[in-house]
Symmetry: C2
């Protein structure tokens, strides 16, 4: 069984692992143009000097350790009729082909975007170059108020003057409702980060090197600019090969199969769909890539696995606070014309008897029938990921307010809120 | 509607809150012999000087704030025929009566148990007296290797020479399997706590004040002794009143009703049952008391609520590690003659790129049909409570390996394990 995987990010690597685990004899080749295996989520921490860039780059053994072959090259053509992938120098036959080509950062079509010291943050190279440019810099402008932009701003703000520019009227415009994004705005401002909302960047200017970002009539000083304005699925090769693509990437069915027999697509290059609405969406999350890669890997080896859509569960850290979200926001529910109910709670992450107890704010969203369809949480540390994972599972299990009210949670002075203040149960009790 | 509640612990207070919330006009009286409202779980932290005892005692307004009446007195008789509770000085008629009399620490029937400086740790008074005795003391012996004993040992060990004596052959004999309790033993030893297992205490000796604990042929120096050898439901008054009791406390049905019409029992005084085996068990957890109190409170007001048993979800902190458990252990499954399967995982609580990532070990237990029936986790901080709560919910929802494998978890360098190393999913993948 010959399997070729194009792309050596999380999706490609996990697919190779699953295939070799199920069938150690499978002949697996990963073609990766990336120079190294990069733990991308850690890039903001590397920029801030918290993680070493070295630790974020993993050895090739992460792929080859299972017996898969790693080819550092770029796939330039796929002949789906003869089932072969061509790189610049070679050709690889396949029985099954997995596209895991990822995505590329969206570069705004504005003047000056090609100036020096304008970066995106996706590859190890990006991180290294930006790290170098930050040395001796003072003013950093981040274009894009999503996860990467806000996280990077919070991590760089103690060493640089940082400004975030977001075209839409709120931070995290696609993932959190306003009362949560307002809190993030407040956190950023309190820590000296300037936040400009609702205004697009007009242009970047500078003499070879960027020195200013122009937003409406303002000119913001910039030694370094990070463009974190979303990603676009890397679909060029697929399109050229006759593989069908949609608005958000390569089209697949629930088995992660494309329109061409024997060809799969997983991770950021693949369009996915919402588990809740069934509609096509972009995920862009590594956790989606991992699960899709497992599904494709299993199917390639002859098993029958399906992917049932995304809830886009995610967590992020901003200064000493963590935020998490899953499913639909109120705004999204409104757009989907879903009649919804909301329950909120405010409690502490420890008993109020303990030193260091911090506020924990939770919002649960339910559909008209009482089924939970979304959650947003702001707190500190791991408690937020715990709640988000639990609500993810509750959504997957089609749980209702009544079911969640019965949650048999644990209580401990240092490790949970007070015994009568579980954030999920309190939010359920408060449903309007 | 006249409601009398006997007992002013978590069970009694929550019952009063629920009743007053549903029916603000209800005439609610709580008879409490306790001098104060005490957050008992925090007592070990108060002994260690981490929490102030003052913070662990809550004002009477916690009860009276809703309009309920708080009577500091002891209920000495219940006349179920005339529906009246008698205290030493007064009589209170009721339409509904809720027993929330709690439990008392089990005092070993051994010589010297009445000596000075031998304590239990249940009430604010207990904590105050023991706190006082600890001043100037050096050697502390804790009898009982359960949650309270081990937690107190870990919290006192930096100021005292601490020894734990447990009669059974392992710590946490009723809640964790050996590979977990062994880790706790190791943690205690590493931090200078002596652990004696498998030997009962023969007697305590001293001249008025305890000075030694005798275990087999050993004599352990002791300035202070804490007896944390379990609790017994406080059922004397109930028994005297003709209310039926079982091995573990007052017998109730799923509505928390006793055998006497209009009389309920909730919390530590009530015998409960395992959600998984249906058999009578002791819970002793405040979280059980809270949920039972809500059920009784709702039923008293004319609603129809039921309690569906316990999973005894709990978490604890020992030095810088947290432990959590829910459902059945392997040992309990064996005793119940349940054919079970196990899946374990070892990962980190952050990405391996982050400084301060700590090990996280998870065990999931499934029945023969693949339904999850238990979990044990050791890690640090809130991540453990998050996993335990999620698995509690999964057990309640009768989830299987297959369902949990599909968990749509979140990933973040600082807030979760690596994206392909979710502890629950990894453990599911490892099921034998």
């Amino acid at each position: 069984m010959k399997i070729v995987i194009i792309g050596c990010g999380a999706a490609g690597i996990v697919a190779s692992h699953v295939i070799k685990k199920i069938n150690p004899d499978a002949d697996v080749t990963i073609i990766g143009r990336e120079k190294s295996i990069f733990i991308r989520c850690s890039a903001p921490y590397a920029l801030a000097g918290i993680d070493s860039l070295g630790k974020c780059e993993k050895p090739a053994a992460m792929v080859t350790g299972t017996g898969a072959r790693l080819v550092h090259d770029e796939a330039v053509a796929v002949d789906v009729k003869s089932s072969a992938v061509k790189t610049k120098s070679k050709s690889f036959d396949y029985d099954s082909l997995i596209f895991a080509t990822g995505a590329r950062p969206f570069l705004l079509p504005i003047g000056g975007i090609g100036l020096k010291n304008v970066f995106t943050l996706r590859t190890a190279d990006d991180a290294k170059k930006m790290s170098k440019a930050l040395k001796g810099s003072h003013d950093v402008v981040i274009i894009g108020g999503g996860m990467i932009g806000v996280e990077t701003a919070s991590l760089l703000s103690d060493r640089f003057r940082v400004t975030i520019v977001e075209m839409l009227p709120s931070l995290f415009p696609l993932s959190y409702d306003k009362e949560y994004s307002k809190q993030v705005e407040y956190l950023l401002s309190k820590n000296g980060v300037k936040v400009l909302l609702g205004k697009p960047v007009a242009k970047l200017t500078g003499d070879k090197k960027v020195n200013a970002v122009h937003v409406a009539r303002r000119k913001i000083k910039a030694d370094v600019v990070l463009v974190a304005a979303g990603i676009r699925a890397e679909t060029d090769l697929a399109k050229r090969s006759g593989i069908k693509t949609g608005k958000f990437g390569i089209e697949t069915d629930k088995h992660m199969k494309t329109n061409i027999k024997g060809v799969y697509a997983v991770g950021d290059c693949a369009q996915t769909f919402s588990m809740l609405t069934g509609k096509p969406v972009q995920s862009g999350l590594v956790t989606t890539a991992v699960v899709q890669a497992k599904v494709a890997g299993m199917n390639v080896t002859g098993m029958d696995a399906t992917f049932d859509g995304v809830l886009n569960s995610s967590v992020t850290q901003i200064f000493d606070r963590s935020l998490g979200r899953v499913g639909l926001t109120e705004e999204q529910a409104r757009l989907e014309k879903i009649k919804y109910k909301v329950g909120t709670s405010e409690t502490l992450d420890k008993y109020d008897t303990q030193p260091g107890a911090k506020p924990l704010k939770t919002k649960l969203i339910f559909d008209h029938g009482g089924m939970v369809i979304g959650a947003q949480v702001i707190g500190s540390g791991h408690i937020v990921s715990g709640i988000i994972n639990m609500i993810s599972f509750a959504i997957q299990r089609k749980s209702t307010v009544k079911g969640l009210l019965k949650l048999k949670y644990a209580a401990h002075p240092e490790l949970t809120p007070l015994p009568f203040a579980d954030p999920v149960v309190l939010a359920c009790e408060a449903v309007d």
